[in-house]
């Protein structure tokens, strides 16, 4: 009997043991209904669950499909990104390696294999650094012990700071390695071939200390070496510093061009280097300036011998691209400790000695002497005073009359500059004009003279001209013509009353520009005279090059002139004849006696100038003289 039915029957059984069939039927029916209900419930819940799960499944399928698409897209992106990453990695100029905390390779690029001559198969993820180094050792791109290297590297990585190491490979390349630790105990290493950079740095360092033209040490290195040599100098030894330059380098550069100038400097450098021992420093310290350090000499004879040898060697002719050129050098020598123990003092003193050598006729050498210092100081003082003189109006003009010999009337006055220094008194032009020319002040002084002379002449009778000397330096000044025009205009003086006197040397320099300027001035009506004719080359070609208005025959032909001096007379006569035939007037300079006056008149000079006819005198005196002569001229007219 089923246990359930047994219970049901028990429930339906009364105290007397009889079974109430109606009650039993109710109980059994109730049980059936319960079971039916449970079945319905079960079926319903299973159906609903299946629906729900099905719906869920569809949703999931949709989500999976969407995610698959998204995943595919991400995969594509990732692949592209990886390709880009690979491209970037493999196109780096540096080699790159990443290691994990066990020194195993994680990432690397091709450059590493190229840099160290490894086969691509030798290098890959998981390979330990020691193994890489052993392979490099085998192909000759590593030297040392791989285990020591890695142990040392790991010890430094463990400190947690990036560090750089330069290594020189057996093949001559230099590699800079930068190791940067990572949080996991690994590190990233970049290897850069810095061979070219190192080479460039060496070149730059060389350039900083050597002259590129001559390959000699430059001023910087010269000074360093001099300082060091002075430190190293033994107590009983001396050291000589030579300062030298080329005597006519500027002429070579100007006439033949920079290419020739450079070539000359190169050859001079070679000769200098060749003439001195290896222990001697030969440097190029400026344009055509060289310097020599002669360390550790016993006496001055050694220095003298070298200086003499250099003068001789440099003085020999040069072949510059087929042109034979001769130059000479002047050398100034200063000796330590006698002339100073500091580099600057020695250089300065050698420079002073050089100045003296040049003044003493070039092509030679001079040792520094204490008085040179004084001379130089005096010179500097003069230069300074000259500059002040112009500003403070210390210059005045004196005028020397020039007479026409046909009627003994005054035709012209030559303006001559005078410097009345408040302390020194009158300073002769021969003393200060060369200095003014050297320091370039002559241009400003010349302009002042022109303006003053024109202004003074404007107060004179119309038939009296004024003659002004032009320095060669002035002639080179591009502003000459405007300055002359300006002076005339300011004074209101007709151009025809101005005579400009130039010397032969003016025509010797930069001829074309000079001749053009002279033509321009002459076309304005300004007269151009050749001054001091007969003292220089007296080349007649100069007379052909420019149509001078006047020749001034130098005093050296006139001062000794007497009626017995046939040669002298003949020279003067031929000059006046030549001038006359070229349409030029002639002025005899330095006429000091009545006899000379008569003689020059006799040999055909048109004008005369000299102490006999009148000394240079202040404006007020010459103005009075002109006023006095006026009636006489008027009378004779």
């Amino acid at each position: 009997m089923h246990r359930l039915f047994a219970r049901q029957r028990l429930q339906a059984t009364g105290p007397d043991g009889t079974v109430d069939l109606d009650a039993l039927a109710r109980i059994i029916t109730d049980a059936y209904e319960q079971t039916d209900r449970d079945h319905r419930r079960t079926e319903r819940s299973i159906a609903l669950m299946i629906d729900e799960l099905d719906q869920l499944n569809r949703t999931l399928e949709l989500q999976v499909a969407e995610r698959t698409v998204a995943l595919g897209k991400r995969e594509t992106e990732l692949r592209e990104q990886n390709l880009r990453f690979d491209a970037a990695l493999n196109n780096m100029s540096q080699a790159l390696l990443m290691f994990d905390g066990m020194s195993r390779l994680v990432i690397h690029n091709k450059r590493y294999c190229e840099m160290y001559g490894l086969a691509p198969d030798d290098v890959g993820p998981g390979v330990v650094l020691q193994e890489l180094l052993r392979k490099r050792l085998a192909v000759g791109t590593f030297s040392g012990d791989p285990d020591d290297y890695v142990a040392n590297l790991r010890a430094r990585i463990a400190r947690g700071l990036s560090f750089n190491t330069d290594i020189d490979l057996p093949n001559g390349r230099t590699i800079e390695i930068c190791n940067s630790p990572m949080p996991d105990g690994g590190w990233v290493a970049t290897h850069e071939d810095i061979t070219e950079r190192r080479r460039a740095e060496k070149i730059i360092a060389h350039m900083a200390h050597y002259d590129s033209l001559t390959e000699l040490p430059n001023r910087v290195l010269f000074q360093e070496r001099l300082a060091q040599s002075l430190v190293d100098l033994g107590a009983d030894r001396k050291l000589a510093v030579f300062y030298l330059d080329l005597d006519n380098f500027k002429a070579v550069n100007d006439t033949l061009g920079h290419q020739f100038g450079d070539e000359l400097l190169k050859q001079v450098g070679q000769r200098l280097r060749g003439s001195a021992a290896e222990s001697i420093t030969v440097a190029r310290v400026g344009g055509d300036e060289f310097a020599v350090i002669v360390p550790g000499i016993a006496d001055l004879a050694e220095a003298s011998a070298l200086a003499q040898r250099i003068c001789t060697v440099i003085g020999e002719p040069y072949d510059l691209f087929g042109h034979s050129v001769v130059t000479e050098t002047s050398i100034g020598v200063a000796v330590a400790p006698d002339n100073g123990t500091l580099p600057d003092a020695l250089i300065k003193n050698a420079d002073m000695a050089l100045y003296r050598a040049k003044a003493d006729g070039r092509g030679t050498f001079r040792f520094f002497e204490a008085e040179m210092d004084a001379v130089i100081k005096a010179r500097r003082a003069l230069e300074s005073a000259l500059r002040d003189a112009l500003l403070e109006g210390q210059f005045t003009l004196h005028y020397q009359p020039i007479l026409k010999l046909d009627d003994n009337t005054m035709s012209c006055c030559e303006a001559l500059i005078r410097w009345n220094h408040p302390v020194r008194g009158m300073v002769p032009p021969a003393e200060f004009i060369p200095v003014a020319e050297e320091i370039g002040l002559i241009v400003a002084i010349g302009e002042w003279v022109l303006r003053q002379a024109c202004a003074d002449a404007a107060t004179w009778p119309d038939n009296i001209k004024v003659a002004v000397n032009l320095s060669p330096i002035q002639m080179l000044n591009a502003k000459l013509v405007p300055v002359v025009v300006g002076a005339l205009a300011a004074a209101g003086l007709p151009a025809s009353r101005l005579e400009l006197e130039i010397t032969e040397s003016v025509l010797m320099q930069n001829t074309e520009q000079t001749v053009a300027a002279l033509h321009q001035l002459r076309s304005l009506g300004v007269k151009i005279s050749m001054d001091d004719f007969g003292t220089g080359f007296s080349s007649l070609s100069y007379l052909r090059r420019f149509p001078f208005d006047k020749l001034k025959i130098d005093r050296c032909f006139i001062s000794d002139l007497s009626k017995d001096d046939d040669n002298g007379l003949a020279i003067v006569r031929s000059v006046t004849a030549l001038a006359s035939s070229l349409g030029m007037v002639t002025t005899a300079e330095g006429v000091e006696t009545a006899e000379q006056m008569e003689l020059v008149r006799m040999v055909g000079c048109t004008e005369a100038q000299g102490y006999y006819l009148g000394r240079p005198q202040p404006l007020k005196d010459v103005s009075r003289l002109l006023a006095d002569s006026l009636p006489r001229q008027a009378k004779s007219a």
């Binding site: 109730d30 419930r41 319903r44 819940s45 299973i46 669950m49």
Partner: protein, 381 residues
């Protein structure tokens, strides 16, 4: 320990098996709300056992040894060495349940407290909070067992009495003290999960609003079909298994106490934490019976022996199980009885919630839709 079982029905009155001990320390009694409501049965027991704590509650049916019955069932226990202490409290709402539990725990707490047996109002209490309150003050190593009072399939009012006639909104708890007493416990469900897992997306305390963003009540109505008319009782046919997704091994089963058709919410006997995962469950008679047997085995495993006459077993099973199994409910009681042995007195009731330590965590808590078995053993050893 000496135990005597009694029963009462309208025809026979009180009937006992064996001699009635005059010094019984504890009387437990269970019966339908209608049978207990007038307090006469309590008074009769009070008279029979003047020295005992008389503690009982309304139920969804009684368990007595191997049978399920609607008669009142009672048991009188006479302890040799064990001290007892009764604590009662008013439990008026889910919000005050924790505080109520804490006050009971404070009253009962002692170094030699061996266990607590609790009977609680079944409709106005958040059982989870109540148990958490008790363990918070009495100590979480003390096993707390018992259950929530029932009201058959009506879900209208539940009664609890503790040395007073049963009344609503009441909690009564007995503490067992001393080295001689051993409290064994077992708890098992036997329900099968089915269908999709759903997330608790809106809930507050023990009130559930939404699962996966949809009203929870709609789900139940759909699954119940025309049985939805019997809500909330019929909702017990489909308990919810819930768990923290981070600790799936601590899954709990929750049962419905009330529904609100207006806002679509369902009130459960314990917390329904938002974010937990839930899954519907359904019962199979055989597996539910096997669950009951498992609970009995767990309970006796530690201290008692099957058939031990020094022990008594108190079975608290869920009303949902009885609603589902109908006439075959007795099969789970028989299954538990077989595990306990034929000679161990067993008494119990169908409840609105079961209280027992969790089998895995050992933490006392509220269960639903389970069979819980508490064995009380007093040994002279």
């Amino acid at each position: 320990m000496h135990a005597v079982q009694l029963s009462w029905n309208g025809i026979s009155g009180w009937q006992g098996q064996g001699e009635i001990p005059d010094r019984a320390g504890l009387v437990l009694y269970f019966g339908g709300r209608a049978a207990l409501a007038d307090g006469r049965r309590y008074n009769e027991l009070r008279d029979m056992f003047p020295h005992a704590h008389v503690v009982g509650c309304s139920t969804g049916g009684q368990i007595r040894n191997n049978d399920v019955s609607d008669d009142i069932a009672a048991i009188a226990l006479n302890f040799a060495q064990t001290r007892l202490k009764l604590a009662t409290a008013v439990a008026s709402s889910a919000e005050t349940s924790r505080a109520c539990g804490e006050s009971i725990g404070r009253v009962l707490a002692a170094d030699d407290l061996a266990g607590i047996f609790v009977l609680s109002d079944g409709l106005n209490v958040n059982g989870s909070a109540l148990v958490a309150g008790i363990t918070a003050t009495a100590g979480d190593s003390v096993p707390v067992t018992g259950g929530l009072a029932g009201d058959g399939a009506q879900f209208q009012e539940t009664l609890v009495g503790g040395d007073f006639a049963p009344r609503k909104q009441t909690v009564a708890a007995i503490g067992f003290y001393g080295a001689a007493v051993r409290i064994g416990h077992g708890n098992a469900g036997g329900w099968d999960e089915f269908g999709p897992r759903r997330r608790i997306t809106r809930a507050s305390g023990n009130v559930l609003f939404e699962l996966d963003g949809a009203p929870a009540l709609d789900l139940y109505k759909r699954y119940l079909g025309d049985e939805a008319a019997g809500l909330p009782g019929t909702a017990l046919l489909f308990p919810l298994r819930i768990y923290d997704p981070l600790r799936p091994e601590r899954a709990l089963v929750r049962t419905v106490l009330a529904v609100d058709h207006d806002n679509g919410s369902m009130t459960f006997a314990g917390d329904m934490p938002q974010g937990f995962v839930s899954q519907l469950m359904r019962g199979n008679f055989n597996r539910l019976a096997a669950g009951a047997a498992e609970a009995a085995r767990q309970s006796v495993a530690a201290f008692a022996q099957p058939g031990d006459t020094d022990s008594v077993a108190i079975l608290v099973s869920c009303i949902g199980r009885r609603l589902l199994m109908g006439q075959r409910t007795v099969e789970e009681v028989e299954a538990a009885g077989r595990a306990l042995g034929t000679t161990m007195p067993a008494l119990g009731f169908y409840s609105y919630g079961e209280i027992s330590p969790h089998a895995a965590s050992g933490l006392s808590q509220l269960h639903n839709q389970t069979m819980t078995v508490t064995t009380i053993t007093e040994s002279a050893r």
